[in-house]
């Protein structure tokens, strides 16, 4: 065959993303995590019962937290393995040897994973809200918005883990990913710490805090439970913030991956 017409970048990214998504949602881990989530959600009612108060609020908090915690753990685990397992298992040999640029491969893999994570988050949110509705808790639109922002947090964490994998070993990347998650939430409270710091401490702390994504932007679930509204402008700003971080982290990954020996 002589010199075939090559597909465009968008097509290649879409094709890689499609196969990654299919591979992700068919894995037994995916279904297993949904079952674990459903069991945890079922058990969360027990905490509501022992709370001596409005158990519905307590259960709603737990359901929203479970969705985020399981989502982040899955994002860190799969983000870490996304490209590294392809290298270890040599599954990418038959892909990279084809007319696809490495950046297209990384972007396609990330988008496929993001689609899988989105489906998982949507499924968890649906299970959680259905359970809340069945147990008499109020299900309102702000919970949907909180679920959306939790998804953005999960996608940012997948990008963080992907980036760390490009820079280090998978195990270290998982540890660094979780550390970034911790720091990303801790920096939300940093302004309250500022008055404890002076001089160079303040400069170093503010500098380091600026290097990690402020994940507090996506923890709207804490307000959504009480039906505190979130304006469109605020929502757009948070979504834009997450998208920028994802773009930056995936770009960093591409830069490192382009130079990697496979």
């Amino acid at each position: 065959m002589a010199d075939p017409a090559l597909p465009g970048a968008a097509t290649l990214i879409r094709v890689v993303a499609g196969s990654t998504f299919r591979e992700a949602v068919r894995s037994r881990t995916f279904l297993g995590l949904l079952i674990i989530f459903a069991v945890c959600v079922g058990l969360s009612r027990i905490v509501g019962w022992v709370s001596s108060t409005d158990g519905n609020i307590v259960t709603t908090d737990l359901v929203m937290s479970l969705q985020a915690i399981i989502g982040v753990l899955v994002a860190v685990a799969t983000g870490t393995a996304l490209v590294q397992s392809e290298i270890t298992n040599k599954t990418l040999y038959t892909v990279i040897s084809r007319p696809i640029a490495r950046w297209q491969f990384v972007v396609g893999k990330y988008l496929g994973l993001a689609a899988g994570l989105a489906l998982g988050q949507a499924a968890m949110l649906a299970i959680g809200l259905a359970y809340l509705a069945a147990t008499g808790a109020e299900v309102h639109r702000w919970l949907l918005l909180a679920g959306l922002l939790t998804l953005v947090e999960v996608l940012v964490m997948a990008a963080v883990s992907l980036c760390w994998t490009a820079l280090s070993s998978p195990l270290l990347a998982a540890v660094l990913g979780l550390a970034t998650w911790f720091c990303g939430h801790a920096v939300t409270s940093l302004p309250e710490l500022i008055h404890h710091l002076k001089g160079w401490q303040l400069v170093v702390a503010a500098g380091l805090a600026s290097l990690v994504p402020n994940l507090g932007q996506f923890a709207y679930r804490n307000q959504a439970v009480y039906q505190l509204p979130l304006g469109w402008a605020d929502l757009a700003q948070r979504l834009g913030y997450g998208a920028l971080w994802i773009a930056l982290l995936v770009t960093l990954t591409v830069v490192v991956f382009r130079r990697k020996h496979l």
């Binding site: 065959m1 002589a2 010199d3 075939p4 017409a5 090559l6 597909p7 097509t11 290649l12 094709v15 890689v16 499609g18 196969s19 299919r22 591979e23 068919r26 894995s27 298992n89 040599k90 599954t91 040999y93 038959t94 892909v95 990279i96 040897s97 084809r98 007319p99 696809i100 640029a101 130079r259 020996h261 496979l262």
Partner: protein, 311 residues
Amino acid sequence: MDAVITFQGVSFTYRGNWLQRISALKRVDLDVPAGSAFGFLGANGAGKSTSIKLLTGLLHGHCGRVALFGSELAGSDADRRLRARLGYLPEHPFFYDNLRVDEYLAYLARLSGLSAGGITAACERVYQLLDLGDLRRRMLRSFSKGMRQRFGLAQAIIHQPDLLVLDEPFSGLDPLWRARFREVMALERGRGATLFFSSHILSDVEDLCDRYAVIDHGSVLEQGRIADLLGQAPMILTGSGPAPAGAADAGGGEWRLPFPEGEREARLAALPPGARILRLERQKVALEDWFVARIRATHGAGVKLGDMSHG
């Protein structure tokens, strides 16, 4: 004949721990002519896989010139057009567990630039060639090693590439499938594709290839035509009746006498009366034996098949 693969003074060094550097290729020169079947021979760690990875874009950052179809690989997006004409079967191939055969082939074919309509036809072709039709709905996680190898060859040829790079293609195959693989490769070659493959099973190289190269410790020791290599084997004169001096008993009343060039007339003159000449032929020597002797030799002069004592 134009070269499909060209290595000119190619060196490559891996990064080891910290400042450690591992030299994998040292000024390698190699030419693979278009339409040939090229056997790339070498022991483990000799540099075969590194060479193949440089060809397929899995490695870059080399010194020297690596060219495909006459165009130099620059490590840029421009290489994509060259790689579209290449099919690659890695050694011990692994694939995604949770994709079906038909999905996986369609995925890789699409990456190689086949259209939706072309993919269906291409898939049917490889299903037939490699008996994958009944397995098309199976997930790859359920495949045995041999089945994976079949799928590996299918994905390598699905877009009918001009160059097939095969790394140990016969690994894990039973004799029936080894024969089928040879047929498929012959078909691909008949279509006009160039075959470039490494193998530890040198009889396969002997059967399939018309050219060869030997690499050891990152350097190409020699390369050339298989026919020329086999042409170096000594001539043997087989006869019956009274045996001349120096002949060996071949059983059944026959004897065999080495018949080197330059001594032929003297040997013929020395035949005893009544001796009958039955045939003159080249001695059969296994490529394996030659290869082992060649690698064991120093990097100096090559080992000639005629230097070997095997009968």
